[in-house]
Symmetry: C2
Subunit: 346 residues, 2 copies
């Protein structure tokens, strides 16, 4: 009989409409491949060479203020530019290009060079959430900005070029690919059921309790049924809101709490500073209403079985289809069972 | 004025219908992030602990033959299984899964533990192409196998778990995601123009000569206009064929030649064993005809600016949209200018 815990199968990602190949039996595969550096390095609380530390001077000659919580500035090496020339290019429908306008910001989460999100206090994480919200508001006010991506690359293994705790915001004129997919799926569901896709999905998961990691007053953290990365998770707001602007002070503090709890569990899993890319998915900021959009935040962590062995999304995954070994249910169980007290404080 | 060499823009991948964000100005970004190991390690020509070397015993107790060219066997830790239970699962259209049948094979390219594709002789690479073709034929003969993915992960940075030169074949019952996208795009183009998409695309590129890397009698190697990885390339057959079965002996030798030429240029770029994931995209092997399908092979190499600095597809890329810094035209020019004589033989 077909068994999700045992037989190779595909699962549908209801947010994108795409599938992931799950190979539950493959976790016994021996590993002789590349080992990552353990992210365990003792850093000073202030580093004179870090462009994010308070008081230091950045590449463009500007000096960082003596900030005490979080601090935001325009990326000195932005991938998107606000004043980029407009235009488009099309040759025989074979070579097709279009100008893209945007801007990139960097948010330092704390003046402390040696800490990461789970190690910050509730007050400090709440300050980060507040800054995300106010940055979102001021960026969305620009008529030409139609989408705002708030995200964090954590750990050098995730391409993070500076260990100082920080995240990024890329704001731009067009709607990126992943958001288009999620819009299509959420829209279709809302048209059919009159409720957001994630409202019904989260309620089903809360009933089943198989993939839930943490539940707070206003948020749920879970391993999605279609999770692709080994310990992937998703935060969803219980209230169906389109973007971070809608969150009250109480919800923002609660978001800080669930982020702290989830990232602490992550660090505890392999007793290392757990690398990931994380980011919010929100409705376009083009001034329209998107009642079908439901705010959520994805965490994509690469580690597979220890602080040094990661999952590679390579040959088959790039050319054919994303694939995972450990089941989402097993990953959820491992994360759920972990303490919410950070291992460094034990 | 809008300039593809200078302004941030998006380009359409005509094979998938998806876009890539190009940031030409961003190549000056300083790099303080993770450095990869240089793949430069002297290996013995035979390693007693390698499960791919001739005469050695594998995990399942089987002994490899004393092979002289290439050698194929079923993966001892396959992600797909031929005898997997069939069935499907659907809960409220929110949890959706389906059993997947398949099998995974490993192809050793040579008994020599210390060499890689570009270092093999034309005769040896042709033997690999012959084996790809005969394996494809015998797998496609299975009624339940509907798609066959031939690929190679090269280098530990690309998740390759053993440095012995080898590739993989995953054959399965359903059509994976990337192939579905390419089918849709190729089908639509063929319906409209009566020629395959890649016939017209390659002819346009041959006329422009801006992104062409190598042209042989029967194949073209180029950097696609929509390339995502820094030095991504694509091999296309001049003849519009659906799969490797159609290649004549002459075409197979010519495919070996263009693979040797391209991978030699890759190694010469940073004078290192150049890592990549590469693989063929072919029509479904379900017995139907797919006149719109055009055989091609993608090379996705991660290195960005040296043997130790790679491009990370992380935060923004995973959550929003693939992004690249150096333009495809610049990458093509660098690769085109390189010698076809391997740097180790200079
Ligand atoms: O089969 P291998 O070489 O053990 O594994 C490698 O290739 C597979 C197919 O792309 C991936 O799923 C693995 O993550 C990767 O490490
Ligand atoms: O902006 P950073 O930290 O220099 O760069 C990092 O994040 C970016 C956004 O995900 C990626 O494009 C880069 O490849 C990665 O190294």
């Amino acid at each position: 009989m077909f068994d999700l815990n045992d037989n190779p199968h595909t699962r549908v990602n209801i947010l994108t409409g795409e599938r992931v190949l799950v190979s539950p039996h493959r976790s016994k595969r021996p590993w002789q491949g590349q080992l990552e550096d353990d992210q365990q390095v003792q850093r000073p609380s202030h580093d004179a060479n870090c462009y994010l530390c308070a008081g230091n001077t950045r590449a463009n000659g500007e000096q960082n203020p003596a900030y005490t919580h979080s601090f935001v500035f325009q990326n000195d090496f932005s991938a998107l530019l606000p004043d980029a020339a407009e235009g488009s290019y099309n040759e025989a429908d074979l070579l097709i290009a279009e100008a893209e306008k945007g801007l990139c910001k960097v948010i330092s989460f704390s003046p402390r060079h040696d800490l990461t999100l789970p190690e910050l206090s509730m007050e400090e994480i709440t300050a980060v959430v507040d800054l995300w919200q106010s940055e979102y508001a001021s960026l969305a006010a620009n008529e030409w900005i139609n989408y705002i991506q708030i995200f964090e690359n954590k750990g050098s293994i995730m391409g993070c070029s500076n260990p100082h705790p920080h995240g990024q915001i890329w704001a731009q004129s067009s709607i990126p690919l992943e958001l288009q997919k999620e819009a299509t799926q959420q829209h279709a569901y809302y048209e059919k059921h009159g409720r957001t896709l994630l409202t019904d999905y989260v309620n089903l998961e809360l009933k089943k309790q198989e993939r839930i990691l943490v539940e707070t007053e206003h948020f749920v953290a879970l391993v999605p049924f279609w999770a692709t990365w080994p310990f992937e998770s998703m935060l969803v707001s219980k209230r169906a809101v389109q973007d971070i602007l809608a969150f009250t002070a109480e919800e923002k503090a609660d978001l800080a709490l669930i982020i702290k709890t989830l990232t602490t569990k992550y660090d505890n899993l392999f007793e290392t500073s757990f690398p990931y890319s994380a980011g919010m998915h929100q409705a376009p900021s083009d001034g329209q209403q998107y009642p079908y959009w439901h705010w959520h935040m994805h965490f994509y962590p690469p580690l597979l079985r220890s602080a040094t062995v990661k999952k590679f999304m390579v040959g088959y995954e790039l050319l054919a289809n994303p694939q995972r070994d450990i089941t989402p249910e097993l990953a959820a169980q491992k994360l759920r069972d972990l303490s919410t007290l950070h291992y460094k404080n034990k």
